[in-house]
């Protein structure tokens, strides 16, 4: 039960956090200047977007949940399980960020998810 909650936190908070960070980055705009000073200004701008803070907090929760699970389970099992976030990610991209997810992309995501499921069942 404890591990299921931790996995849910990794997937839920992780995906939610990534969506919030993604939304924040779209607000900041495209990076066109890769010089160090410009990158520092870029990240300073990103930190002024509240979605960034929500996202980073959620990713922090996901991170410590990941550490807790990794203390008991193998990396080659834990990391594929966290890929269950792909379905959530595609749905979030479509409904939260307003991105157009093409059929081909859905097919790719589906294929990845089937692969992940097989990885999980390949447990010794």
């Amino acid at each position: 039960m404890r591990e299921i909650i931790l996995y849910l936190l990794i997937i839920g908070a992780g995906t939610g956090g990534e969506l919030c960070v993604s939304r924040a980055m779209k607000v900041v705009g495209e990076v066109k200047d890769f010089r160090p000073a410009a990158l520092v200004r870029f990240f300073a701008r990103a930190l002024r977007v509240s979605w960034m803070w929500v996202g980073v907090t959620m990713m922090g929760i996901a991170f410590f949940s990941l550490l807790a699970v990794l203390s008991k389970e193998n990396v080659s099992l834990v990391v594929p399980v966290t890929a269950l976030s792909y379905a959530a990610g595609a749905l979030g991209g479509k409904f939260f960020l307003g991105e157009k997810v093409t059929r081909r992309r859905w097919a790719g995501v589906l294929l990845v998810c089937i692969g992940v499921a097989i990885v999980i069942t390949g447990r010794r």
């Binding site: 807790a68 990396v75 080659s76």
Partner: protein, 138 residues
């Protein structure tokens, strides 16, 4: 260089960095956490003990460094590319995790699991053929 090919080049470069540093970070975290042992976070002293072990582990900090590198590349690529493009494209990292876990941590990865990893990589190829941006820049 055309703008679209320039966009693809920097997208692929940053996704490449994500595929290297993300898995390396996870494997280092796994190594560090195996040394620390099972977390007992049900109680406050247990949680404090867990966090203090985490913050004093060199391997964990190396893992965090790798993940920070991954995260910076991830943030940069998300400033122009769609999330639903980047997230599946970076799933090649799952193949990398299996490889690193096998060679660095000596974890046993069964043939079935390798087959799953291959399917994930195939899915990545399908996703990689879609355009990196479908929304208009704001």
């Amino acid at each position: 260089m055309k703008p679209s090919s320039s966009l693809h080049f920097k997208t692929y470069l940053l996704i490449f960095l994500m595929v290297i540093f993300g898995p390396l970070g996870n494997v280092l975290l796994g190594k560090g956490m195996k040394r620390i042992g099972a977390a007992s976070m049900g109680t406050t002293p247990g949680a404090i003990d867990f966090v203090s072990h985490v913050v004093t582990s060199g391997t964990i900090w190396l893992g965090i460094g790798s993940l920070v590198t991954f995260f910076v590349a991830y943030m940069l690529v998300l400033s122009w590319a769609d999330y639903s493009y980047v997230q599946p494209a970076s799933s090649a990292a799952y193949g990398m995790v299996a490889l690193l876990a096998h060679f660095m941590l000596r974890e046993v990865v069964t043939p079935t699991r390798w087959m799953g990893v291959l399917l994930i990589c195939l899915g990545v190829l399908v996703v990689g053929q879609t355009p990196p941006r479908t929304t208009e820049p704001r």
